[in-house]
């Protein structure tokens, strides 16, 4: 739908790593590309969907996306699948047997590690999958390499009939750099050939494929040892030689322009003999890898003396500010000037991401914050922010869909002291379809006492409002079948009278519904049905404003947590009971307000009214 004419070959473009991969996928003649959104990987599929000639889909989760890509590769088509690091945990069930069947058409799986935790619940190192799954890994260091290695990965994938992992990090995906692009070469599918011994992995069949996997390991090892992607860069200062990969290579080059470097582009299997020969040319060998000591451990096991995590951190990015002091210390030198910040950073309040002005989740969290004696299992999405201020209304988050099982476990495992606690689970529409449905089924089947809040905002909100089966639009925005959540949960066994669809902007109804359902000792599902304010379905209303002399400073509206509400003045006051309270006199930024009316409802003195439309919109900048 949104396809534009791709830039001509030889164009030099400023592309993010994600955009560069997308261009290479298109040039490689890929027929099928599938993914579930996840930062920092999301833009790969978004960009691919803008190219002609490629079938692109948002899948409901990473496992399904990988399986779609595998089916296409079995048919002899080239296929692509991308995900964030934790997505591969979900997809790994398919991956670990896929490595036995291998593929016919080239299959590249791009996994984006969030080194530095900009937007993730952990920092796992996806290079482990190469070891665990006996799969080759490419590690680009910038956008140009992300482009070139994606193309090279298709060649390797088809030559060895093996899926290839393209390991990216946030500092590849979201860095924009210059890329010279090339021509698209169409790829013709050879067609699916029935071959049960290869494609039907029974124990007997799989047992025969395992030795073939080991043979492939040996062939890939030889390929890696000879690969031009693993290149030695000469240097005059031989006191320290570096083995490095990915963005860490850039940082090493920047920090030590005269040092010998062995850059690993085809980094798994590790070219141990090439590194052994390199090690013989330098005084000390240092492995600079993000994040776990994988290459280092394999080198040490092979008897190649090296240093790594003894002197470098196992967490976060290995930027020049980290590696320069570590190497200076190793060499017994003073830390070079300009490396340590000249000044310590100023102490400034934290500014975490917030829920948007008028977000429908505000009503839910305001209400949950008013209900005491609860345990609330949360999930992955914008609504994870409900754990923060001012709501403090979310008690757990670990993985996609986990709110369901954790809530059931909190119920079944409750201590005597917690016997009167009400257990709730909060999950978004997309996360529910990703991995929550099974948990709800389990909860129903096993007689849980949990109230589920299913926050349907008709988008994958946190990653930028991508479409999903809940909003009736496909990846291109074209009409697609739309799931009915009330029917879906009824189909999973929730009693019809325990299912409520409520408008999260109508606080009395929402409050009453939650209060009633948490008292009933069975599974209830309360579905909220208003769209994310960042997607096209959202309709702005007339802003509201505060009548100054009516505001009593009660602060009730501040508890909603809307960023358009500003406290302009604070005063101490003594209540009739003798208790000292802080009054908060507020104003509303009418330039930001979209009139959701959430703050109007708890306002005790009725001081919040529709804004005077004859006045200019107000911007509050203190």
């Amino acid at each position: 739908m949104s396809a534009v004419l791709p830039a001509p070959a030889q164009s030099r473009l400023l592309l993010s790593g994600n955009d560069a991969v997308a261009r290479a996928v298109w040039e490689s003649g890929v027929k099928v590309a599938a993914a579930y959104p996840g930062t920092p990987a999301t833009e790969m599929l978004e960009a691919i969907s803008s190219y002609p000639d490629v079938y692109a889909e948002w899948s409901v989760n990473e496992k399904v996306s990988l399986e779609v890509a595998v089916g296409a590769a079995y048919s002899g088509s080239r296929a692509f699948c991308s995900m964030k690091h934790v997505g591969m945990n979900v997809a790994s069930d398919a991956l670990m047997t896929l490595t036995l069947t291998g593929v016919i058409g080239g299959l590249v799986i791009a996994i984006a590690d969030d080194v530095g935790l900009s937007s993730s619940q952990n920092e796992q190192d996806s290079r482990y999958w190469g070891r665990f799954g006996h799969l080759p890994i490419f590690e680009p260091a910038d956008s140009q390499e992300a482009y070139a290695m994606t193309k090279a990965a298709y060649e390797i994938s088809e030559r060895f009939q093996v899926p290839v992992i393209l390991r990216l990090t946030t500092r590849i995906c979201h860095v924009k750099a210059m890329v010279t692009v090339g021509e698209r070469v169409p790829h013709a599918a050879s067609g699916f050939k029935k071959d049960p011994a290869r494609w039907v992995m029974t124990p007997a069949g799989a047992g025969k494929r395992i030795p073939l996997m080991f043979e492939r390991d040996a062939a890939l090892k030889a390929e890696s040892e000879a690969s031009a992607w693993n290149v030695t860069e000469a240097g005059s200062d031989r006191r320290v030689g570096f083995v490095t990969s990915g963005p860490a290579w850039m940082h090493v080059r920047e920090s030590f322009p005269n040092a010998p470097v062995l850059k690993l582009g085809f980094s798994c299997p590790v070219p141990v003999e090439k590194i052994r020969a390199f090690a013989a040319t330098v005084d000390k060998l240092v492995v600079v890898e993000e994040t776990e000591p994988l290459v280092e451990t394999e080198l040490k096991a092979a008897g190649v003396a090296c240093l790594g995590k003894e002197i470098l951190p196992r967490q976060g990015e290995l930027a020049p500010a980290v590696i320069k002091p570590a190497i200076a210390k190793l060499l017994g030198e003073p830390v070079p000037a300009g490396v340590i910040p000249i000044l310590p950073a100023a102490q400034v309040f934290p500014r975490p991401p917030t829920m948007c002005v008028a977000c429908p989740h505000l009503g839910v969290y305001y209400t949950l914050s008013q209900i005491k004696n609860t345990f609330i299992a949360g999930d992955i999405g914008c609504y994870t922010l409900g754990a923060g201020h001012p709501w403090n209304a979310l008690d757990t988050t670990i993985s996609m869909g986990a709110s369901m099982g954790i809530a059931l476990g909190l119920d079944k495992g409750r201590a005597e002291a917690d016997k009167d606690k009400r257990i709730l689970a909060v999950i978004g529409d997309s996360t529910f379809m990703h991995m929550g449905m099974q948990g709800l089924l389990d909860m129903v089947y096993n007689g849980g006492n949990v109230t589920v809040m299913l926050l349907d905002n008709r988008a994958v909100g946190m990653t930028g409002g991508q479409n999903n089966p809940g909003n009736g639009r496909d990846i291109h925005g074209a009409p697609a079948p739309r799931i009915d959540f009330a029917k879906l949960v009824e189909g999973l066994g929730v009693k019809k009278e325990r299912i409520h669809v409520v408008n999260p902007y109508v606080l009395p109804t929402l409050f009453k519904t939650i209060r009633e359902e948490i008292k009933i000792p069975e599974v209830s599902v309360i579905i909220t049905d208003q769209p994310c304010v960042l997607v096209q379905d959202y309709v702005k209303q007339q802003p509201v404003e505060v009548i100054d002399d009516k505001c009593t400073g009660c602060g009730n509206c501040v508890g909603v947590g809307c960023p358009a509400i500003h406290v302009m003045r604070r005063e101490k006051a003594i209540k009739p009971s003798g208790k000292e309270v802080e009054l908060q006199f507020v104003q509303i930024e009418t330039a930001a307000c979209t009139g959701c009316n959430l703050c109007v409802q708890p306002c005790a003195p009725g001081a919040i009214v529709p804004a005077d439309t004859t006045k200019p919109l107000r911007l509050i900048k203190h």
Binding site: A319, A321, V348, P352, T354, K621
Partner: protein, 206 residues
């Protein structure tokens, strides 16, 4: 050693257009034949969080990240963010900043204080500051979204290339996407440029 790479740090909060502004700066440098790398730490893909965007350009750029203490220039779309990031600058370097204070919910609900005078605190650290109200300038031109171009105008005279090259990049971008807004953006650029120059004049007069 520190070769000819220029390091510009652009900071603000999510939704202000920091990344777009940096991209336009990058486009100007590319048009002049420079190698360019641009990287962000934008946190979760949500509004209202801290955004810092690193732009490096020169004959050849390796690491996309600016090492603390080596930035040549800080362009700050928000006052407290200017203070938060000024340690990234070289000693005595220039801070071009919007004086607007955008207060987050954690300050509104009373958990933290907003710094009383970010400009003074930055100056105390030895940096040169040119501060102006980019939001007011934009509103006076009739559109708050012009704040982005006002900020770019302010940086125009402090780059290793002529301000006109940056203006060309802005005009090119709007000509392709929103041609009706080209003239307004020219005005916003000029206003930003004048604001940064007049704060200099004030300082010299003082």
């Amino acid at each position: 050693m520190d070769n000819q790479v220029t390091n510009i740090l652009v900071v603000g909060i999510g939704g202000q257009g920091v990344m777009t502004a940096t991209e336009i700066l990058a486009e100007a440098a590319i048009a002049l034949g420079q190698d360019v790398k641009k990287t962000e730490v934008a946190g979760m893909a949500q509004r209202g969080g801290v955004v810092s965007s690193h732009l490096r350009f020169g004959a050849k750029v390796l690491s996309p990240q600016i090492t603390p203490g080596t930035a040549d220039l800080l362009l700050a779309f928000e006052s407290a963010e200017a203070l938060r990031w000024c340690h990234m600058l070289k000693p005595g370097a220039l801070v071009l900043m919007n004086t607007a204070k955008l207060v987050p919910p954690v300050v509104n609900i009373g958990l933290y204080d907003y710094p009383a005078d970010p400009v003074a605190e930055i100056r105390k650290r030895g940096f040169e500051v040119r501060a102006f109200d980019a939001m007011d300038i934009a509103m006076n031109l009739g559109e708050i979204k012009l704040g982005n171009t006002v900020m770019l105008g302010a940086v125009g005279d402090h780059l290793p290339f002529p301000a006109e090259a940056l203006l060309d990049a802005i005009v090119k971008r709007f000509s392709a996407r929103k041609p009706a807004l080209v003239e307004l953006n020219r005005k916003a650029f000029a206003a930003g440029r004048a604001a940064a120059a007049s704060t200099q004049a004030q300082k010299e007069a003082a």
